[in-house]
Symmetry: C3
Subunit: 302 residues, 3 copies
Amino acid sequence: MATPDYAQQGFTAMRVELDAGVAIATLTRSKERNTFTGPLVKDLLHAFDLFDRDDRVRVVVLTAEPNAPAFCSGADLSQGWGGLFSPEVDKEGEHAHRDSGGVVSMAIFRCRKITIVAVNGHAVGVGVTGLQLPFDIRFAWAGAKLAFPFVRRGIAPEAASSYLLPKLLGHSRALSLFLTGATVSPDSPLLAGLYHSILPTREEVFPAALALAKDLAANTSQTAVAVTKALVWRGYDNIEEQHILDSRGIRILGKAGDAAEGARAFKERRLPKFSDQLSDDVLTPWMPWWREVNVHHRKAKL
Amino acid sequence: MATPDYAQQGFTAMRVELDAGVAIATLTRSKERNTFTGPLVKDLLHAFDLFDRDDRVRVVVLTAEPNAPAFCSGADLSQGWGGLFSPEVDKEGEHAHRDSGGVVSMAIFRCRKITIVAVNGHAVGVGVTGLQLPFDIRFAWAGAKLAFPFVRRGIAPEAASSYLLPKLLGHSRALSLFLTGATVSPDSPLLAGLYHSILPTREEVFPAALALAKDLAANTSQTAVAVTKALVWRGYDNIEEQHILDSRGIRILGKAGDAAEGARAFKERRLPKFSDQLSDDVLTPWMPWWREVNVHHRKAKL
Amino acid sequence: MATPDYAQQGFTAMRVELDAGVAIATLTRSKERNTFTGPLVKDLLHAFDLFDRDDRVRVVVLTAEPNAPAFCSGADLSQGWGGLFSPEVDKEGEHAHRDSGGVVSMAIFRCRKITIVAVNGHAVGVGVTGLQLPFDIRFAWAGAKLAFPFVRRGIAPEAASSYLLPKLLGHSRALSLFLTGATVSPDSPLLAGLYHSILPTREEVFPAALALAKDLAANTSQTAVAVTKALVWRGYDNIEEQHILDSRGIRILGKAGDAAEGARAFKERRLPKFSDQLSDDVLTPWMPWWREVNVHHRKAKL
């Protein structure tokens, strides 16, 4: 792909910068508490599609302005839930609806780069589910209030959170959080394991995330990262098949440039300089090995 | 269904009261340490079947009398394990046996309401597995001794605990507990995440559980709860299919009464008053979406 | 099988002793930091095959000499990754490679006895994955440095660790560890739940593991252990099928000698003396109930 200019993408709900292999996306609708509205959805889908395909991007960090009253205060309920359902989609039948939180979750989840979220403010509903759970690594402000209000508002957890949260934290914690409609802080025992790091002040969250992001952008292999993510999320359900699968990964990566450079750097006691890129198509004959599910509704109309 | 009178159900091993949407089941065979015997199994199956179908029940709390010497001391081994196997069932062949702990686990697990267990005493074997793991939320007394003695008694974990415990806590903790035949207290690192709350005294356990139960009975949607539990336990094994599934849930719930009331209450900054009920059959065209497995043995005899 | 003499097996990278039902395997290439080389792989495969089949072995403990500079410092990178790929296997085509870490993981994972690893030194790469994750129970020295360096060396996690780590600790911790290429100590929150016990000094690790091992060798049922491990790892993906499965386990074990002895010992308030052995074939008509996957590459050459 051509190298996109992130300042020229027409984003209206966030801004994106590229810094030393790190794509930094900052939510900018602080006044509206970064509610999860159509323009934000559109920006996130567009941005994560670019991040996935742009070889220059090795790590993504999503954050909000640290003085925003909220990292993301969830869906905009000023129109009730009706705002969720578009008349156009409804015309296609009752199976056509796709939850917008989930559409965003898919885009983040499918990004083959390392994704980090820096939660430097309060978060509610989809601000916890769609904007946190699909990321690889989560940083949070210790003072953030995190709300899972679904059952207290008459709906169920969305954005594929009923898939992600049990896998991230186990079913016991996930059920406690979902069924009590809990509001908790990041250091709650119910969230143990969810955050890579919890920082005392809002201002420290993004710099800490960025420091890790820059380390990883400089010192990790883009192809090894993509394989690792896929092995963890798209693996098989018995150990023998996973052994055959990761053997194939070791064979393909082990004969490619980054592995040679990794071994050389280790022997020479220096940091590596990785140059393999996803667009080189080293992985293409192998990935995806999994059944790809099309999430789009098939329109009945010809 | 008609509204059952819980005082007239002929329970002999426990008593059941209904209080503000909360069904409270209290084990009453304190003198016998609430051993897991036939009458208790019968009572539990009958009670959880009613709780599942009685619209008035929004939350269930199971507990024991706090002065009982044990919450549940497990199977009654006075007859050895032989008491487990009925001659009638044995006549049907060696595949006909159904573990009674598991039969109870199924009844609790399948209850579509929020289920809470208040473990205010020691628990052994099925008192930990069948009477705790299938619940959504667990409270415990810090001083409770919890024993997983299976491999030390020549049998294996039952009551579907080999399914539930790894999902609740991860395989590492589950294997440590099962294979060491451990006796631990609720604050053991091996149990981290299992209990929603751990209370210092036996007397505090049930009131704490009841307070949460009453909050949830008053402020959560019965239909949203049923969908949430099903999404978590009956979801799909890849994220895209779960996204399609929870989108359907959002579509169905989002157009129903409770979601409208939830949004109204939020805007009006008041507590919601949910009125949708499972018997309204809003969810019936959709649930169960999963393959229902018949656990009963098919008798060969015509 | 005949009873093997562990002193006469020709091990070159470790020594094995049998002590009161506990097979103790000690890595002996301290000078080479117990790197994961061909001779070690060969020894481990041979030893765990014997441990699985030798009725005298009830528990296995793997450890290193406590004064070794490392428990296992991972793959030997002196030849780069090229050393991983044998020309013979490469001739069979690019699907023939089997990761040697994974080959060892399979042998440990398939051992039907209780397996314990006593990590009394630093561990890197396969020294963390293949030599720790497939065990049932892990002990560690608090000062051990544990490194998951894969993405920093241009390869992906191997030895089926992308299967095991998410199941052991959840996907959140697994992704943080894998994608940051972390080096952590056993008490890192990222590893919470991985270690059964963490000891302050290197010298305490093996004795603590051995004490538990001897307790378990004396007081657990060999057949109950084998069923427990299989129920946890080879169970079904819905609770009803698991209930039918563990009911069968209870039926088979409950009518065998060890269960009778377990109940008698409980009633007589004494320790049990279990005598059922895997070679008695009580479990053979039932196990394996799961689909067995052949991990060997099928040679095209006739």
